[in-house]
Symmetry: C2
Subunit: 336 residues, 2 copies
DNA sequence: AACAACGTTTCAAACGTTTGAAATAATTGC
DNA sequence: GCAATTATTTCAAACGTTTGAAACGTTGTT
């Protein structure tokens, strides 16, 4: 424990030169004599000089920090997307601060405020499912800090930058896949209606049916959320319908697993023949005895990477802040 | 986009008062006139004044930021532990920066450096499995920044603060549980030897055997890592041993799942009777057809919470930096 | 000997806060 | 009505950097 913090001033004192010489030497200014640079750099290393980022941020009026707000880290989609962001960000000299909203608007507001105070250079955000009001996020753009919404975003709002999984295409492809395997009665298990892409997924399903001249039946559609009880209720509804489904498209894998588990537990007649597909491509599928026939891989790393790429362009003003972009990242059907 | 950043100075100009009055008004100093406070606070709200954290950090010589370095976010143990840290930290006015090492020493060093520059007030770290050298982490203590190692830590080093899952007790309990269920030939599948607690777990296993007068057989012990191939090799070894095991204790659940899957895939005779236990208590277990008979719940939230509690005490100098503590968090056996 | 020209170093202000001390204004006591 | 007291505001320095402008010292030219 050393009580004299090693600052430029301290180094300057030791070396009997001015603070600016030390600073410039460490930053490799061409006007500084080579021998001086050596001396300074050696001394800095010896004394473990570590520049104070707060001071630099203050001076430079930027932080080289990217903020990320997301619902939670227990969802593998998000942790995988972080990897995409982090890799590209650090390669470009930026660090990342992650903040979880736990799908709670108040926490999201707190996170946003914290990141705003930290003067992040840009923000990537997947909004909570309860976010209907955007003052706390609009604040960033007002201060000239670009914001990229990814995955979960305010669907009605065109005036923001978005990077989205092409969830329509993913769901279309999954439905198409099931149709090609001979299914005609394909049930659709949707997610919370507050999450905007829920509708896109539904549309993918609908359109695939339409394009194959399969009549749509409202009986074959139900919605749930992340609560297991609700999923069971939805499944009971779907599989007691008149048109008994032979296949199922679900908006998220863990929920699909709940569905499969339930059908199996009640010895649903014809269970073995039912074919399922869900979003996610969870690594655990390999351990299931009755795995989904395929998964919709959402490529979260790519979503994250596209988000940070766009954000960096906005930060560098290569793209105008007002020139709102929408980037779609295609899904890929993985057959198991 | 507004080009005049709203600073104290800017507010002071608008209100025709000094910067210090504005600052004190916003910080609710008792010497400031109530009416003045109102005026200032209103104006601040109206213009969306957001204090610059870098400036405050610089002035206060602390950041109210806690750094966390951990191997990766794909392991649910770590994401759950973060929840424990975050909750307690934010309740005490601290923010958290998470940095992944991806089990790579170089990345860990980079993370440490980044956090050091950011002048975190304290560090919580689960070292990478390749970390044998600790300069980058010792640096913090040298600068008076307390460090708490959690879960993965330098086992040989007593001179550091540690918060650990009581992995010995967990493994003992699991083994005891299997013994009580009548098993005598219990195999043990250990993890990477570089991870320090691997040995504690093994000792838990051994001691439970000993306390029940069950002879230990080296044939019943094998080691693997997170690579599936190696797990299969280990399992082949264990289950082709002379003493055919009837139960298995594994050091981590996903690996246990690989083992179960393999035994099932080869139609291992007596597979249905084999009882397994592993560390983790993965939420996913509920979907398995041949689930482990029990799980060792490591209580990661509690580990995280204990780590941040200790760290805050160190930060507040309620505990002397040199007075090295070791906190153990018990595991809990969850029978499925 | 004078001075231009260069290589190198230093000065000084700025970034946005906080805070004890000093200054000023308002109030009270007599 | 004036000093003493109290309430309120302002001054000024500090936190650790960066950086353009100014200053310095050394050479080389004439």
């Amino acid at each position: 424990m050393q009580n004299t913090p090693v600052t430029l001033k301290f180094l300057a004192g030791k070396l009997k030169m001015s603070v600016s010489t030390v600073s410039k030497a460490l930053n490799n200014y061409p006007t500084i004599n080579e021998f001086t640079k050596k001396r300074v750099q050696e001394m800095a290393r010896e004394l473990n000089f570590t520049p104070n980022k707060s001071a630099i941020n203050l001076k430079e009026r930027r932080s080289r920090i990217i903020g990320i707000i997301l619902p939670n880290l227990s969802d593998h989609f998000f942790t995988r997307s972080i990897d995409g962001v982090e890799q590209f960000a650090t390669a470009h000299g930026y660090n990342v601060i992650i903040s979880q909203s736990h799908d709670d608007l108040q926490k999201e507001i707190q996170s946003a405020d914290m990141l705003l105070r930290s003067r992040v250079d840009g923000l990537i955000v997947a909004i909570s499912k309860h976010t209907q009001q955007f003052d706390h996020l609009n604040q960033f753009e007002k201060m000239g800090v670009p914001v990229v919404y990814y995955t979960r975003n305010p669907s009605f709002n065109l005036n923001c930058h978005k990077v989205l999984g092409n969830t329509f295409q993913g769901c279309y492809q999954a439905t198409q896949f099931l149709i090609e395997r001979g299914h005609r009665k394909i049930a659709y298990l949707g997610g919370p209606k507050m999450i905007n892409f829920t509708h896109d997924r539904f549309n993918g399903y609908i359109n695939a049916l339409k394009d194959n001249q399969i009549p749509f039946s409202a009986e074959l559609v139900a919605y749930t959320d992340f609560d297991q009880e609700n999923t069971i209720t939805a499944i009971q509804h779907l599989f007691s319908a008149e048109k008994i489904p032979t296949a199922l498209v679900a908006f998220k894998e863990p929920i699909l697993f709940d569905a499969i588990k339930y059908l199996k537990s009640i010895n649903y007649p014809g269970f073995a023949k039912i074919e399922c597909v869900g979003f996610g491509n969870n690594a655990f599928i390999t351990y299931l005895d009755n795995p989904p026939v395929a998964s919709i891989e959402e490529n979260p790393e790519s979503v994250g990477e596209n988000a940070i790429k766009l954000l960096l362009q906005l930060i560098n003003r290569e793209i105008d802040l007002q020139d709102y972009k929408k980037v779609m990242v295609d899904c890929r059907l993985v057959v198991h």
